[in-house]
């Protein structure tokens, strides 16, 4: 069985069935690229994997163990990048990143390395409120890199990034996977990784029958 294995996942959000029968398996060093149109459930799947959105059906195992049975260990294995960057407006970039890392009891020794990778060294001591949208995104990516977590869940990581930053993102992802890490990444076609497997969520849209059966 693959290291991360999902079977027959179904998800409902806002009273609407988003996808059904979704499954995938990821070995160490592999990445999954989620594609599909707006509303096809890319973000929902990521939130479901992070145990934020409840699963309607299906199983999700990590090294053979259902993740919902050991939620804290699973969360410790995750690095999360959502739509919002979670950079506090009143804290400096360095404080935001260190705070997040301390919250997961992680190490801080590679903080400067991560800041340097995303060209944040010069603005590391600037409060979050003075950062541009792209700078905030880079800071959030640096936090993911700093986490050292084996599984990265990234929702449109390249959104709003300029060309050099996208290069840094790709480099970071390749390093992560070379060291055996996994990633699930939602994208609009701006991520290019050789060892990544694309999956189109449109293929798992619920049929009319499933919709009717869902609420009878």
């Amino acid at each position: 069985m693959p290291a991360l294995n999902a079977e027959n996942l179904a998800c409902r959000r806002g009273g609407r069935l988003v996808f059904t029968g979704l499954g995938f398996g990821l070995e160490q060093g592999e990445a999954l690229l989620l594609t599909g149109r707006n509303g096809s459930g890319k973000s929902s799947l990521l939130r479901l994997l992070a145990l934020m959105t409840p699963r309607l059906r299906g199983s999700l195992t990590w090294t053979g163990i259902e993740v919902a049975e050991q939620p804290e260990a699973w969360r410790l294995a995750l690095a999360w990048l959502g739509h919002a960057d979670a950079i506090k407006p009143d804290l400096t970039v360095r404080e935001s990143l260190a705070g997040a890392q301390l919250l997961r009891k992680g190490r801080l020794d590679s903080l400067d390395h991560a800041l340097g990778r995303f060209d944040l060294t010069a603005i590391a001591d600037r409060p979050g409120r003075y950062l541009s949208a792209g700078q905030r995104r880079r800071a959030a990516l640096a936090r993911v890199m700093l986490s050292g977590a084996p599984i990265w869940l990234l929702d449109e990581p390249a959104a709003g990034l300029d060309e050099p930053s996208r290069g840094a993102l790709h480099l970071t992802l390749r390093e992560h996977m070379k060291s055996g890490g996994l990633a699930v990444i939602s994208t609009h076609g701006d991520i290019h990784l050789p060892s990544a497997r694309p999956i189109d969520l449109g293929e798992f849209a619920p049929s009319a029958d499933a919709l009717a059966e869902d609420w009878s």
Partner: protein
Amino acid sequence: MTRFRHLVARDLLTAWRRPGDVLLVLAFFLLAASLFPLGVGPEPQILQRIGPGVLWVAALFAAMLSLDRLFAEDLVDGSLEHLVLAPLPLELAALAKCLAHWLTGGLPLTLMSPALGLLFGLDGSQIAVLAVSLLLGTPSLSLLGGLGAALTLGARRGGALMSLLVLPLAVPVLIFGVGAVEALAGGAGSSNALVLLAAFFLVALASTPWAIAAALRQAVE
């Protein structure tokens, strides 16, 4: 426990960078309390009679005022997702947020209350009991307020709705808090009321964190 401390410290640092928020709460407390002499007239007997109740009600409203920044900003900027995903029980994280809220809200109100007690002509023992009752009662307000703030995350008309949810639940705090001071005037000791305040805090401490955590999980679903 270290993660708990980090969470509290982070919120305190945020509050420190924005001292206006705390000052606003204190200014509101002062303003609301000073409107009453203007409303009911300056007779010392009346003011001394209503003083404890007025100050407690003003403190109750002032505590409501600062609740919207407890979780709402975290929801908007995405930090709430990280809080939910953090590998510590969300109940503990919720407790840390409420503690930080009390340290930057209830505690300053308590420290300020003796000065306001003087405005209402309360005597020394009344002022002392009032301060102790606020010290024991305002932590419960932060817990109940945290619940209100978590439940109304993403709701329409959040602020007014929050008061409608929290204030009825806070009725016992108000009653025991004012009762402690009034028991002095009645000749009875105020220890009964203070014990009840402390007991209410323990019940709130045992019952609200899981409810706040459940509400936060729903908010990021």
